[in-house]
């Protein structure tokens, strides 16, 4: 090949590879969604995944929201002081947490914890032939392993976001009332009066989408893991990185959609 064409060939190969992966993920997601509606159903697996993905992510999401709410209050107070707008701290903390930081940071933290765990678990199952064993036992791995995880994450994330929102606002309240001299009752009244239902709903919708993305990426990379410890390690890394990037991209697209709505 002409040496001048090598960079173009490399770009072409990478583009084709990326398009192939996008196609594979899309087909995988479509198959998973179609299996959600068709029996057999595995309610015990779903309950177990709700516990693993939802309940056990609560400390991580809660702590993230608490510290973010506190830091946000300080930043808005400092920024607002430049044009005598310190009083808007309760409102901006509330809207910032509920519409943006709650779902995005919650999604990213869950991506780190859950996408990695799912990819490692399913990757190990693949390497140790447990997935093949499922097939020989007349059980569809997509239905038994993927569907409960995707459903559980899609249900859990909005709930985690809602709890995270409350804790994040509480973090802002705590810092504002103890460090910045805000009145407790006035802070709460300003928060409640300012927030609209759509602010909360839009954040919860984002949470459901991010939950779907987290589980989809964990399952896809785990099921397509390479051989050995290195293959499982790579699947885990790819799951977290792709889930994080897709969450940020989906966040922009959803915000754009909601902004225009």
């Amino acid at each position: 090949m002409n040496p001048l064409l090598i960079p173009f060939a490399t770009i072409g190969r990478s583009t084709l590879g990326m398009l192939r992966v996008i196609g594979q993920v899309t087909i995988y997601a479509g198959q998973a969604i179609s299996h959600i509606l068709r029996p057999p159903f595995y309610p015990r697996e779903l309950l177990w995944q709700l516990l693993q993905i939802g309940w056990l992510s609560l400390p991580v999401v809660g702590l993230t929201a608490l510290f973010t709410g506190g830091a946000l209050a300080l930043q808005i107070f400092a920024g607002g002081a430049r044009f005598n707008a310190e009083a808007v701290v309760p409102q901006i903390v509330a809207i910032g947490i509920v519409r943006e930081l709650g779902p995005v940071l919650g999604g990213l933290m869950v991506a780190g914890r859950v996408a990695a765990a799912i990819a490692a678990e399913l990757g190990t199952m693949k390497v140790t032939e447990q997935i093949d064993a499922l097939v020989t036992l007349s059980t569809n791995p997509l239905k038994y392993l993927t569907v409960p995880r995707i459903l559980a994450a899609t249900i859990s994330l909005p709930i985690l976001v809602a709890v995270g929102d409350a804790i994040g606002i509480f973090g802002g309240y705590l810092v504002s009332t103890t460090r910045l001299g805000f009145n407790e009752a006035a802070y709460l009244r300003n928060t409640v009066d300012f927030l609209e239902l759509w602010d909360i709903t839009s954040g919860l919708i984002k949470g459901a989408v991010f939950g779907f993305i987290v589980a989809l990426m964990g399952c896809y990379h785990g099921m397509n893991s390479g051989r050995g410890a290195q293959g499982v390690g790579r699947a885990t890394t790819n799951a977290v990185v792709s889930a994080s990037i897709m969450i940020l991209a989906a966040n922009y697209l959803l915000t754009e959609l909601f902004f225009n709505a």
Partner: protein, 248 residues
């Protein structure tokens, strides 16, 4: 009963099966031997439909393995995997009774547990193992649990993938004897792949040697020491020198 006819399978440029033809009769215990990487596991996976061949046909009782009702087809099989392939998240009894807790063969929980404990007893494990998790078992015990799972639904056909790999000689002997006893007692058709000549002598009615993607030799187990095929001779005797090139 099981017929593979001119089966080819390649992974990229690596041609694994290159025209494999093999017949296994009902109730027969056939052992496929051959060096590492000769396609023994791929052959089993092709029969089960876990891997799709590039060409050729595979039938069970005249029915193509890729067509028809997959669940009904797979319900006829039991398989012991090389590493056991037990589900880490389930206790031993639920591993054994996996097929009895879901799908068309579903039984009430108590009955499924009872059958699992009976099958564990059949492979020489005590009932108190039932509530342990696979990670709490030794390699030999995991193999026995895998064997109990393979026979739990009393399949017509059982596949054994390297049943004694990684076990000490005594445990290998125990597993070999169990396989022979269970296959005879159930009247099942068995297809085993192994490198272990002791297993071959203990388990096989018929032996097939796979080399470079084709069956190089096949015949009754009694003939493996007298056959004059140089490939078989080298493999059976474990000679470094011979027509099979060893990678050093």
């Amino acid at each position: 009963m099981i017929r593979l006819d001119n089966v080819h399978k390649a992974f990229g440029s690596k041609r694994v099966l290159q025209g494999l033809t093999l017949d296994v009769a009902r109730g027969e215990s056939c052992v496929i031997i051959g060096g590492s990487g000769t396609g023994k596991s791929v052959c089993l996976k092709c029969v089960l439909g876990l891997v799709t061949p590039d060409s050729g046909s595979i039938t069970v009782d005249g029915q193509d393995v890729q067509s028809g009702d997959r669940d009904a087809f797979l319900a006829r099989f039991g398989m012991l995997f090389q590493g056991g392939a037990l589900f880490d998240s389930l206790p031993v009894w639920q591993n054994v009774a996996f097929r009895l807790q879901r799908g068309p063969q579903k039984r009430p929980k108590a009955q499924a547990r009872e059958i699992a404990i009976e099958k564990l007893r059949r492979v020489g494990l005590k009932p108190d193992v039932a509530d342990l998790f696979p990670s709490e078992l030794s390699g030999g015990m995991q193999k026995r649990v895998g064997l109990a799972r393979a026979i739990a639904a009393e399949p017509e056909i059982i596949f054994f993938d390297e049943p004694t790999t990684g076990l000490d000689p005594i445990m290998s002997g125990v597993i070999n004897d169990l396989i022979r006893e269970i296959v005879t007692e159930m009247g099942a058709t068995a297809l085993t792949i192994t490198h272990d000549m002791r297993s071959v002598r203990a388990i096989a009615d018929k032996v097939a040697m796979l080399h470079e993607g084709v069956i190089r030799w096949h015949g009754p187990v009694a003939q493996i020491d007298t056959a004059d095929d140089p490939y078989l001779r080298q493999f059976v005797n474990g000679d470094a020198e011979g027509p099979i090139a060893a990678v050093r």
